[in-house]
Symmetry: C2
Subunit: 426 residues, 2 copies
């Protein structure tokens, strides 16, 4: 099946601040052509003269099923106080909760242009079921908490369940996620690192999210968080770390040397009063900075559009330099840098022939984006969520005219409200 996106404003994200008017041919799962007017045949030709085509967004850090706890006790004093509210709820979650919580989050992500996400959560065989239904791409981590015995249990049971549910589907990518240095022992990190290396899994972990975490780590190990994980060999397996608000230059040098990506989560870092991550400095130090929403319960949604705008605003006001990060660099964070962080840069993150057709079409003919002027500023600062018209993942269309094609939103809303009422009663 060949679909021709005709006369579209293409931002391929392949070179700095580059865009052009042209055509994109989707052939089955792949991008078969990107360039000026395409002369060959196609099964479907779509007039895209109102649209901007971008690689669809990569949400490089979230906890998908946490849409269940959206706006639940969300104005706590800090991360620790908030986790104290959340952990008891999480202990009660069953497989149906995870399924509908995930599906709700996927609805939200597709509507705002995201087709790839990195998830860290529980009972994720149910998340995989939802991901398959939605038709997106998920980096699903086996999540680790606690000590070695618990780690063994999760390797033997959770990893097995996830691989079974993946069942060879190349849109499901297995990663492993030791939760954080304050919830996992040194032995857990080391065991997970070895297990991950042996099985070719990327490591996804929270790191340096709060000043308290840094202070506690120094007190307990004599090292700062990234120094500590490096000292115990974790970074010898490909790793991406979420938050990373407080890295020292010494830590950044380690991350650079070990090719560790940092996933910036601006909404969550604001909402939980963690701090502002100095991304322009990290970029100067050569770090690959990606972007993520974190879970919907500390955000309180999963829109990369909102996340891009906030990332740009915070960088400017915290450095007092409007050019500290350009809008184009923000778009990179939300696309190709995310793909790099998750080890998927050969498949997604740019619009190039041979890559998977993961594409978002954005309607530029709306009051909010008129006049367009600087197209990159328009996408980062002006774009409302409603501008997202169509979304493709691996060539399959998931959104058309802002309407979901693979998820019955009304039904999911009913189900999740029912599950949530039930959780509160348990």
């Amino acid at each position: 099946m060949k679909t021709l996106l005709k006369n579209v404003t293409v931002i391929p994200m392949t070179k700095k601040e580059y865009f052009f008017q042209g055509d994109i041919l989707i052939d089955d799962k792949k991008i078969a052509y990107v360039g000026p007017s395409y002369q060959g045949d196609a099964d479907i030709t779509k007039d895209c003269s109102s649209f901007i085509a971008l690689p669809s967004f990569v949400n490089a850090h979230t906890h998908l099923a946490m849409t269940l706890m959206r706006n639940y006790k969300d104005s706590q004093e800090n991360l620790q106080a908030w986790l104290a509210e959340i952990f008891p709820i999480e202990d009660k979650l069953n497989e149906d909760d995870i399924y509908y919580g995930s599906l709700n989050g996927l609805a939200e992500m597709i509507k705002s242009g995201t087709t790839t996400f990195a998830d860290m959560y529980f009972q994720q065989w149910k998340t995989i079921e939802a991901v398959k239904k939605a038709g997106v791409r998920g980096c699903i981590s086996v999540t680790f908490f606690g000590d070695e015995a618990e780690t063994d249990r999760r390797i033997n049971y959770n990893y097995k369940r996830i691989v079974e549910e993946k069942n060879g589907d190349d849109l499901i990518i297995c990663h492993s996620a030791p939760h954080a240095i304050y919830t996992c022992t040194k032995e857990t990190y080391q065991k997970v690192a070895k297990f991950s290396k042996d099985n070719g899994l990327y490591i996804n972990t929270h790191l340096s999210e709060t000043q308290k975490e840094v202070d506690d780590c120094i007190k307990q190990t004599g090292l700062r968080p990234a120094e500590y994980l490096d000292s115990i060999g974790v970074f010898d397996t490909p790793t991406y770390v979420a938050h990373g608000v407080f890295f020292s230059d010494e830590e950044l040098k380690i991350l650079k040397r070990k090719n560790v990506s940092v996933v910036h989560n601006p909404s969550s870092n604001c909402k939980l009063a963690s701090g502002i991550c100095p991304i322009s400095h990290y970029k100067k130090m050569g770090i690959n900075v990606a972007l993520g929403t974190d879970g919907a319960s500390s955000n309180n949604n999963l829109s990369m559009i909102k996340e891009m705008r906030l990332a740009a605003m915070l960088s400017t006001v915290s450095t007092m330099k409007p050019a500290s990060i350009t809008p184009y660099e923000i778009l990179e964070m939300a696309t190709i840098n995310g793909a790099k962080a998750l080890g998927l840069a050969d498949k997604i993150g740019t619009l190039e022939v041979g890559k998977d057709a993961d594409i978002v079409l954005i309607n530029k003919n709306i009051a909010e984006m008129t006049p367009l002027n600087n197209i990159f500023s328009a996408l980062v600062f002006s774009m409302p969520d409603r501008a997202v018209d169509s979304v493709y993942c691996q060539g399959k269309q998931l959104l058309e005219d802002g309407k979901l094609l693979t998820i019955d939103e009304e039904d999911v809303i009913k189900k999740i409200n029912k599950q949530w009422e039930d959780i509160l009663r348990r």
Copy 2:
């Protein structure tokens, strides 16, 4: 004509964190009933069980026609460098530019739930024409720049044109706007203050937007900006000031005593690297803090929804206290506090019998707002622009199912693009 909004989740904004399920009756221009199930008759009954009703938003500081310069040279070093790019463009604007620039901004504002705004700009008889077409409520300022002679010219010509165009329409409210202390002389401020007092006009001015403005003011007058305006008698006329990022406690005491409102513009203050306004401190000092988008060229849009979210995020991360401003207080800033700032609290800003029917209906049955849990958090942190379903101003419906009823958006987009091309050629 009586319209009954049936079975709606009402947030009247009359008392702290209060909401209920009930009915609202719109009778012609006014709210005739707000409460539990209404028993009388109505011409139209609308099932609102999916909706939250709020007083529609008050954008207490903008430069409406600046939608023309949206995303135009918008990553300058600071306010001064940006103004140096903008002023030459403004010199070229004609009446058609102002009309279509305004209409485009009004389309955007209505779509995001705003029906009242405070405008400071030029040739605003054309803005008034657009406001009348759109059907919203505009506080339109006679804008002053420069010395006394220029002030006289603007009083004699611009004010007259604005009053003529208003032509008795009570949705058009005339204010007066000396631009800033760095563009207007002392004599201009004093003349404008007297003229405003004599004619019952509120004063709208930029104040304490950047550290440079504060430093220059101290150098030139020995006083900080609010002390200076107070010393020359400006605050004896009702005044609201935009930005107000750097007020000292002494200045805040003056503002409190003189009942001067501060309009917070978080996007613009970030984008232009002005700084973060400490609104939680201002509120503790008893200041009425309202919210505004500033012009679309330093934002880069006019959505109070985006502005509320950013205001909340910045307050938390800059104070490191998630409870520094509650979501409910953010909603107050966007509704009743704006009404107070503009002298309209007897007419709008809450949902109460006898007030004008300025109402926004927000669709809560969408993935992004499910589960709802804390309704105030949901509105401030989760709500996408697309959640706005219907908007009424003085009883007239301006938006239905997200579609504009009084503005032909497609036509405006064509016209503004044409005007803008023309401006760049002039």
